[in-house]
């Protein structure tokens, strides 16, 4: 146990010892830090000295597009490629760099220009593909980074890398680091919440629990999945036939018996356990309240598009993300699947975009409306990009694209980020970075920075090493995009 935790416990122990039996547990429960207190910024359970400096963002929402969205069909506009249709990728561009074995055996690498129209949007004049009409309205709030890169070229290692800082399973995920470092602002909800919405194509790459796992960090920091059917949080609901009153009555007895145990054995863990059971009881109220959209006004629901009313969709998850953000949840991550277009970009990519476009718009607009975008960071992106050359059959109308780690596009918005900016430039083929490369560890360092964390100083000792999210190489926040 860490000293600061010990201190917190000592405080709890103090008031338990003085008043517990006299007050009775329900009364005690109400003495617990409430949401209101938490929103004053008093986090519970973080590390001493954290955040390292005054943060712009108190929380973050990460919209993860699992599979590798095609950057040149969405954000990285390459008009010259039209003249290159079906010509071979020049060796001066490929430079012998490695490919996945899905295309490394191809006889040719014929170029596939995007078939989608691009237009400039907003005051910033940012180029956006026709596939993202709703997101396009937001460009003046977004910072599009076109030059993120990674070393991994297959899904499992790549997505593990960007989410945990290592291609090999076993490390702590971004959200668990935030929970560990910054603590929670609402003890009635987990500090790190994950959603895995449905997706129309319903056929694609896997996710792994390790992407929101806590790795070597204590397991309480792992992401808690919020589910759209069954118990929203695992085992939240009492068994059939047991209502809240019955549970309350049982917990009263349990608390008193455990308090006796504490008095006899003196083990601080017993008191911590009493508190955890009380918190569990409060979650049984706070989570259903969170999931209940019935009091959201029509005009707010409409921001997220028609799918917001279908539980489990990306849009519904975005609204939940806003509601979680309002309640002080530190980190919310939504994993949308299906972005692995090895073939049929023309057919599948529009479906993928339709799934997420309106929800993204709703989320940013709604956060803005509530003033929450000022202290909330939002990130959109996948684990790598896709190749300009075609995988499989190439026509003007349709084509496929293999994985491409050397550049891909993401956007960030909100607290700490310069709005209306396009950062980084790739070559005409969206193959190599020409200026301002951003390694995925730089990106993660940037996210940490927005939340007031020096990525080099958020460490955890494992096997004698001070592990950190951003690895041992020299990486750091991208100053140029920081507000």
């Amino acid at each position: 146990m860490h000293l600061h935790e010990q201190k917190t416990l000592l405080t709890r122990r103090h008031f338990f010892a003085r008043g517990a039996l006299g007050l009775g547990l329900p009364a005690l429960a109400s003495l617990w830090p409430s949401t209101a207190q938490a929103q004053e910024g008093r986090a519970v359970g973080g590390l001493p000295g954290m955040p390292h400096f005054t943060p712009k963002a108190k929380r973050a929402i990460y919209l993860f597009m699992n599979g590798g969205p095609s950057q040149m069909d969405l954000w990285d506009y390459k008009p010259h490629m039209n003249e290159w249709f079906d010509r071979d990728l020049p060796e001066s561009i490929r430079r012998g760099q490695r490919l996945t074995t899905m295309t490394s055996g191809q006889a040719r690498f014929p170029l596939a220009p995007s078939k989608f129209r691009f237009a400039r949007h907003g005051q910033s004049g940012t180029w956006v593909s026709e596939l993202l009409p709703w997101t396009a309205r937001l460009v003046d709030d977004l910072c599009v980074v076109k030059t993120v890169y990674t070393e991994a070229i297959n899904h499992d290692p790549a997505v593990t890398y960007i989410c945990t800082g290592s291609q090999i399973p076993g490390r702590a995920s971004l959200g668990s680091w935030l929970s560990y470092g910054l603590g929670t602002m609402n003890e009635n909800l987990p500090a790190f919440v994950v959603m895995t919405p449905t997706w129309t194509r319903n056929n694609d790459q896997a996710l792994y629990q390790r992407l929101w796992g806590s790795g070597f960090l204590p397991a309480r920091h792992q992401g808690v999945a919020l589910r759209s059917s069954g118990d929203p949080v695992l085992y939240l609901n009492n068994p059939p036939g047991v209502d809240a009153d019955a549970r309350r009555r049982m917990l009263d007895s349990l608390g008193r018996l455990n308090q006796r145990t504490f008095e006899q054995m003196g083990d601080p863990e017993t008191q911590a356990r009493i508190a955890q059971y009380e918190m569990a009881f409060r979650m049984q109220t706070s989570v259903p309240d969170l999931m209940d959209f019935s009091r959201e006004p029509r005009n707010v629901l409409d921001l997220y598009g028609p799918e917001v009313n279908r539980p489990g969709t990306f849009s519904a998850s975005c609204l939940l993300a806003r509601r979680l953000a309002e309640r002080g949840v530190r980190f919310i991550q939504i994993f949308h699947r299906g972005w692995d277009q090895h073939g049929n970009v023309a057919g599948d990519l529009p479906i993928q975009c339709r799934d997420v476009d309106h929800g993204c718009y709703g989320l940013i607009t709604d956060l803005k409306r509530l003033g929450l975008l000022e202290d909330t960071l939002v990130i959109w992106g996948g684990e790598f990009g896709r190749t300009i050359y075609c995988q499989g059959a190439l026509t003007r109308e349709n084509y496929g694209r293999d994985h491409h780690p050397r550049c891909f596009s993401i956007w960030m918005a909100g607290a700490g980020i310069k709005p209306g900016l396009v950062y980084g430039e790739t070559d005409d083929f969206s193959y190599n970075i020409v200026e301002n490369p951003v390694h995925i560890n730089d990106m993660n360092a940037t996210i940490l920075h927005c939340l007031g964390i020096d990525h080099r100083r958020l460490t955890y000792r494992v096997q004698g090493l001070d592990m950190r999210l951003t690895g041992v190489e020299d990486h750091g926040p991208v100053r140029a995009i920081l507000a």
Binding site: H4, A206, P240, G241, R249
Partner: protein, 1048 residues
């Protein structure tokens, strides 16, 4: 005296500061000994500071070393620096550059430099200064020096120790002026030790027997009984399997099923039969290359195969291969050395003396697997071995024997037949490709139409003038969405040869054309499909032989020939087609003249001549023949030598010649079912992944920055130079590596092992960082005890049961866990062991306890993993769509769902939720120390999870049926089952009040009562009153959630 240092990371550790001055102690031999004043202990106090703050730039890694100053070795630390100064001058802190620098304030001078992010506390600085002043005594890192068995130290209470352990513990307590706690009461003790040795609580009769046994050796007797229980092996194995990263899936990408549980069972058996730990290690690392390796020893090598693997499309083979080897090396490093060797994969280790070359030297030992890097998404990722049960082995042997006898009879029968070779001269010329029409105006011989009037419609043969292509009739099919005509079980089937094409004629109604048409063929399955038009019919894997797009829809209003090379839909030469389907998505179409273009004689003989048979076999690539013949029949018969000719003739006469068929057929009729039985027996025999050495030695290279494609120098097999060398006679392979690990002067293996066993019993190891014995790890709380245990473990023949017995029979272990204010202040984390260990049960123990005390647990050692229920959607939320672990389906039947938790099916990308919430690792990588957290999600799990609720109900039933007549008796009974003790009056009152409240509630709401008691796999006893049972269920639910019950 204890000081608590708060480091910049917020971790705190306790440093025992030397020895208190002039403390008089009584040694074990009774003589009085005077101790010296506070000396700084280099290993305990100084090396950790140097390691953490200095080694990154002044440590083992040559490439990052600054100012040529090396502080991890004595020679380096005391060497003269380039500018002539000395980092350390013993006895002269002022002149020592190191001391000057750590006290410097100028950012360019101070050490560690500000940009390192490291900072020393004032206490640490003072300690360094004091150490230099006291003479800068230096010793090698404690863990790299072979342990020697220390003498028992002097202690203050000679009557307290029960064995050697207690001398070391008490000596340390004496130094801290603490007294050991009194012995725990017998009830607490029997519950504690039963959990620690078997993972389960004691039964009431076991408790009673122990309480009634007043003999001094009662406790030892109980321990002996527990060590002999098969539950011991299960419990011990469960800990080992975390370290071995055992799982039931491959762990990456598709995360498909992996058949590996025989390895898990091997571990259980190894602990149960008390396999000496040195053999336990050796068999897992090198069981396959032990002389005369047994099946068991080969299974043991599964340890080296438990790492996660992938078969992700696009993966680069060598990259995956290297990743697999790296996992083996890193796991070995953590499990046996207690070191993070993995750092040296990319660069020389910054803290411990492991160079990259050392790393790849070890890599070279584990680099020689005779099998592919990618797992193929199959359960049996080679190399694997079959693991028959004794019953399976004898059944298999019996069938093989019977087959042998029949084959001998066939050979005898054939020997009597004369074959005239001149018949071959008269044999007809080889056939040419020709159309063979199979469905024309009616179904082929033996075929049955499949009709259910849902998807499968009746075959509607229509005559002219409807469009008919040939013969008298065509098949008319009008489909609403997906519909088809299907035939199966045709006999004789169509035999397919090399280069054959399947065809059908189709006429699409221009007024109502289908959106998609499809042909499907059945061989041993229906996974051969060709389609034209849109991709609306979702059967089979897209873009594969299961669902191959041939082209656009043909023109409407005319007959068009559809033609599909059999190979394109996965029908290989020699396969037989006995089913055919014409399928449409919507529209009306006429189908006619279905068949095959082939030159293969149909009907599979018998053949009058060898030549005719060979022609047939050539066209089907000899698919049904034994391997050697397959190659022969593809060749020109003229090229066969005499011996080959003779063998072919013999085989022909036995199997296909018209002249012997009558003689052989009756025998063959007996033989065929036996061969089928043999095959099916073979399929039932479980397999497990093993390690097998390649014949040649795969070279290993130093990989720059750890990258698989950045090869440097070739590296020979070797071990790090700071450890003792490989024994002279040891082979340079994994066996030599294992022998080296367990040689008596190896400083790490025994220490690391005993520390983990200690950790199991006390919650924390003597070295808290049980995964790191290196210079960044925490020094042992009781170094002499660790060494004493390690050496006696080896002297004892690495006897695990003896070691466990030694630990749990110590007075230290038997102490009461009660925490007094004084103890909490002086020994907050119980690192000094001034009290007994008390901590929350592990995930598996919690679930097993609930099932056990409620009487639900089904005990059976080993076997395939089981799937108790879990909330829906957990696998589906993450799984790849094509994964065979993509959809969770719970097992049914208590003999599966109520097994011990160590048998739960472990899908590694979505681990069992009831384990995951309670800190069980995902098993994706090696873990030797579980966290023990305390969260609201755990509370929700223990209160609400289906099986915990079911256990509460079953426990309530036990109380109602067997607990006596009065509610008070029943409460006492129930309480005791879970806690091992009787409730005190106040507790009894509390529970009684709860029971009464709940009785009222459930009597008023019988429906709620019924709902609650119906949770779970098993049904409640109808004889019990539902409201009463429900009320008791909630009481039992409380009892199972008591802090006392979830802890031990």
């Amino acid at each position: 005296m204890i000081r608590i240092f708060l480091t910049q990371r917020g971790c705190w550790f306790v440093l025992g500061l030397g020895i208190l001055g002039a403390l008089l102690q009584v040694r074990a031999d009774g003589r009085v000994q005077k101790q010296s004043v506070e000396t700084v202990d280099f290993n305990k106090q100084i090396r950790p500071i140097l390691s953490d703050a200095c080694f990154a730039c002044h440590g083992p890694d040559e490439n990052t070393r600054k100012a040529k100053l090396r502080l991890d070795k004595r020679e380096g630390a005391f060497a003269r620096l380039r500018d002539g100064s000395l980092a350390l001058i013993p006895g002269n802190a002022k002149a020592s550059e190191l001391v000057q620098r750590v006290f410097a304030h100028d950012p360019t001078e101070m050490m560690p430099p500000p940009k390192s992010g490291k900072k020393l506390t004032e206490e640490q600085k003072d300690l360094l200064k004091k150490w230099v002043e006291q003479g800068a005594a230096w010793s090698a890192h404690w863990a790299y020096v072979a342990p020697k068995k220390p003498a028992l130290p002097a202690i203050s209470q000679p009557a307290w120790p029960k064995n050697a352990i207690d001398y070391f513990i008490l000596a340390r307590l004496d130094r801290e002026a603490l007294k050991p706690s009194s012995e725990a009461d017998k009830t607490t003790l029997i519950r504690r030790v039963t959990f620690d040795l078997t993972g389960l609580p004691p039964t009431v009769s076991e408790i009673d027997a122990f309480l009634a046994d007043a003999a001094p050796e009662a406790y030892e007797k109980a321990v002996e009984r527990l060590l002999a229980s098969p539950r011991f092996g299960e419990h011990m194995a469960r800990h080992w399997l975390d370290a071995a990263r055992y799982g039931d899936t491959h762990g990456m990408h598709l995360d498909n099923y992996r058949e590996m549980w025989p390895y898990r069972d091997w571990v259980i058996n190894a602990f149960n039969k008390n396999l000496p730990f040195d053999r336990f290690v050796t068999e897992q690392i090198a069981g396959d290359i032990l002389p005369g390796a047994t099946l068991e020893q080969q299974i043991a090598t599964g340890f080296l195969r438990c790492h996660v693997t992938t078969n992700e499309g696009g993966s680069i083979d060598e990259e995956v291969y290297v990743r697999n080897v790296v996992d083996r090396v890193d796991t070995n490093g953590m499990v046996f050395f207690g070191l993070s060797v993995g750092c040296a994969r990319c660069h020389d280790h910054r803290y411990d003396p492991i160079s990259s070359k050392d790393y790849y030297g070890m890599f070279a030992f584990f680099n020689n697997l005779d099998g592919p890097a990618m797992d193929g998404n199959v359960p049996q990722h080679p190399p694997v071995i079959k693991v028959p049960t004794p019953e399976q082995a004898s059944a298999y042997a019996k069938v093989e024997k019977e087959i042998g006898e029949l084959q001998a009879q066939i050979a005898q029968a054939v020997a009597k037949v004369k074959y005239d070779p001149s018949a071959d001269d008269k044999a007809p010329p080889p056939p040419k490709f020709a159309e063979l029409i199979w469905i024309e105006d009616s179904l082929p011989a033996g075929a049955k139409a499949v009709v259910d009037n849902g998807v499968n419609l009746a075959w509607n043969f229509v005559g002219k003038p409807e469009p008919v292509h040939s013969g008298d009739k065509a098949i008319k099919l009008t489909a609403q969405a997906l519909q088809q005509v299907v035939l199966q079980e045709a006999n004789p089937p169509l035999t397919v040869g090399a280069g054959d094409k399947l065809f059908a004629f189709v006429y699409l109604d221009p007024a109502n054309p289908p959106k998609q048409i499809m042909l499907q063929w059945h061989t041993s399955n229906w996974l051969h499909r060709a389609y034209w038009g849109e991709d609306l019919i979702p059967w089979g894997r897209a873009n594969s032989t299961e669902r191959r797009r041939i082209g656009d829809l043909p023109a409407t209003g005319q007959w068009v020939k559809l033609e599909v090379p059999a190979a394109q839909v996965g029908i290989k030469p020699g396969m037989a087609i006995n089913g055919w389907a014409c399928t449409q998505h919507g529209g009306t179409a006429f189908w006619d003249k279905n068949g095959i273009v082939t030159k293969t004689p149909q009907g599979n003989g018998p053949f009058d001549t060898l030549t005719a048979w060979l022609q047939y076999q050539k066209s089907v690539n000899g698919a049904a023949l034994p391997k050697p013949f397959q190659e022969l029949v593809k060749q020109d018969p003229k090229k066969h030598n005499d011996d080959q000719k003779k063998q072919l003739l013999k085989y022909f006469l036995e199997t296909a010649y018209s002249g012997t068929r009558d003689l052989v057929a009756p025998l063959k009729r007996k033989l065929d079912p036996l061969q089928k039985e043999k095959e099916s027996l073979d399929k039932q025999i479980p397999t497990t992944l093993i390690f097998k050495e390649r014949k040649d030695e795969r070279p290993a290279f130093l990989l720059k920055r750890g990258e698989y494609d950045q090869r440097g120098d070739k590296v020979e097999r070797g071990i790090p130079s700071f450890l003792p060398p490989l024994p002279d006679k040891a082979p340079r392979n994994r066996l030599g590596f294992a022998q080296w690990l367990v040689q008596p002067d190896h400083p790490l293996t025994a220490r690391v092992a005993v520390n983990r066993f200690w950790q199991q019993c006390f919650g924390t190891g003597l070295v808290k960082t049980s995964e790191d014995f290196g210079s960044q790890g925490e020094p042992p709380s009781h170094p002499e005890l660790l060494d004493w245990l390690a050496v006696s473990f080896m002297e004892d023949g690495w006897n695990v049961k003896n070691l466990m017995k030694r630990i749990v029979t110590s007075a230290t272990y038997r102490q009461s866990a009660k925490i007094t204010k004084d103890r909490l202040a002086k020994d907050p984390d119980n690192r000094l062991l001034s009290r007994g260990p008390r901590f929350r049960l592990d995930a598996e123990m919690l679930r097993d306890q609930a099932l056990f005390v409620s009487g639900l647990l089904v005990e059976k050692v080993g076997g395939p993993s089981v799937k108790p229920p879990q909330p829906p959607g957990l696998w589906e939320a993450v799984a790849f769509t094509g994964s065979n672990t993509g959809v969770f389906k719970a097992d049914s039947g208590k003999e599966k769902v109520h097994r011990r938790s160590m048998y739960i099916f472990w899908k590694r990308t979505a681990s069992p939720p009831q384990m995951n919430a309670l800190d069980a690792p995902s098993r994706e990588s090696c873990i030797v120390r579980r966290e023990r957290t305390n969260t609201p999600l755990q509370a929700l799990l223990l209160m609400n999870e289906q099986q915990f609720v079911e256990a509460a109900r079953a426990l309530a039933e036990r109380a109602l049926k067997n607990g006596g007549k009065s509610n008070d008796d029943r409460l006492r009974f129930l309480f005791r089952l879970a806690t091992a003790r009787l409730p005190e009056a106040e507790e009894q009152t509390e529970l009684q009040a709860l029971l009464q409240d709940q009785l009222r509630r459930f009597q008023a709401d019988a429906k709620a009562a019924q709902q609650l008691i119906n949770v779970g796999e098993t049904r409640p006893d109808d004889a019990l009153n539902p409201s009463e049972l429900a009320a008791w269920t909630l009481v039992a639910n409380l009892v199972l959630n008591l802090d006392e019950v979830v802890s031990r």
